[in-house]
């Protein structure tokens, strides 16, 4: 490893072996989002109302709760990858980048968990109580 230019220092080391994974998962979750969010929009348009009773009764259906949870996983995974790219483009300080990565991971995991827990609670307690 030389001390010259950036390209000189990494030449011959090969790839990090994980770049394609990020790229592929971004596309898998993109397809997941496309199918599941379009399903959500159509379902909401078809619901008779969006009041508390109608919405919780709708979510309590297993055939709704499951795709909703899958949608949350797909959405938060996709946005984690997307915001990571944004961060890599604009945050160049190592310490700040560490902090942003930390926040992003908390946000993505916390958000997905909160959404999935809410859906599960409604599904397991049978909606409007």
């Amino acid at each position: 490893m030389g001390t010259g230019t950036g390209i000189g220092r990494v030449r011959g080391l090969g790839s990090a072996k994980s770049g394609a994974h990020h790229w592929l998962v971004q596309r898998y979750t993109a397809v997941g989002n496309l199918l599941l969010v379009v399903w959500l929009i159509i379902s909401l348009l078809k619901l008779s109302g969006l009041d508390y009773g109608s919405v919780t009764a709708w979510i309590a259906n297993p055939l709704v709760a499951l795709p909703l949870i899958l949608m949350l996983v797909s959405i938060f995974w996709h946005l984690r990858l997307g915001l990571q790219v944004l961060m890599e483009d604009y945050v160049h300080d190592d310490g700040l980048k560490f902090f942003c990565t930390l926040l992003l991971n908390f946000y993505a995991l916390g958000g997905a968990a909160a959404g999935a827990f809410a859906v599960a609670k409604i599904a397991f307690t049978g909606g409007a109580a």
Binding site: R27, L45, I59, A114, V119, I122
Partner: protein, 110 residues
């Protein structure tokens, strides 16, 4: 270039405002009538409508430019004319879908 910037901007908006709004809605529904009604009072306020219409547009703009990325990933659509026509067409398509969805909502329920 504009279409690429739009893809990133709509993506960031959806990732923050869209995802937080979605989780808020679900959490409110899980917490009970009172929390849900509080959410609805925000959603049905003028700000709520602006945010939801904006998110609808952002979602379809991001979806369509995302599909464009899929085509480009496959190595197709790089011819100047084809590339340019799609990048001009997609924003109009996204606006059209948004208008149709909200026309449906405003002419039916809620």
């Amino acid at each position: 270039m504009a279409i690429s910037i739009l893809h990133r901007v709509t993506g960031d908006g959806l990732a923050v405002v869209g995802a937080l709004g979605l989780v808020w809605w679900l959490m409110a529904a899980a917490m009970g009538q009172e929390a849900y009604d509080y959410f609805i009072s925000w959603a049905k306020s003028p700000i709520g409508y602006v945010v939801m219409i904006g998110l609808t547009w952002a979602f379809f703009q991001h979806l369509l430019s995302g599909l464009r990325h899929f085509v480009l990933d496959m190595g197709a659509g790089y011819e100047l004319k084809v590339n340019k026509s799609w990048s001009i067409l997609l924003p109009f398509l996204a606006i059209a879908i948004t208008v149709v969805i909200w026309a449906l909502i405003f002419t039916r329920h809620i």
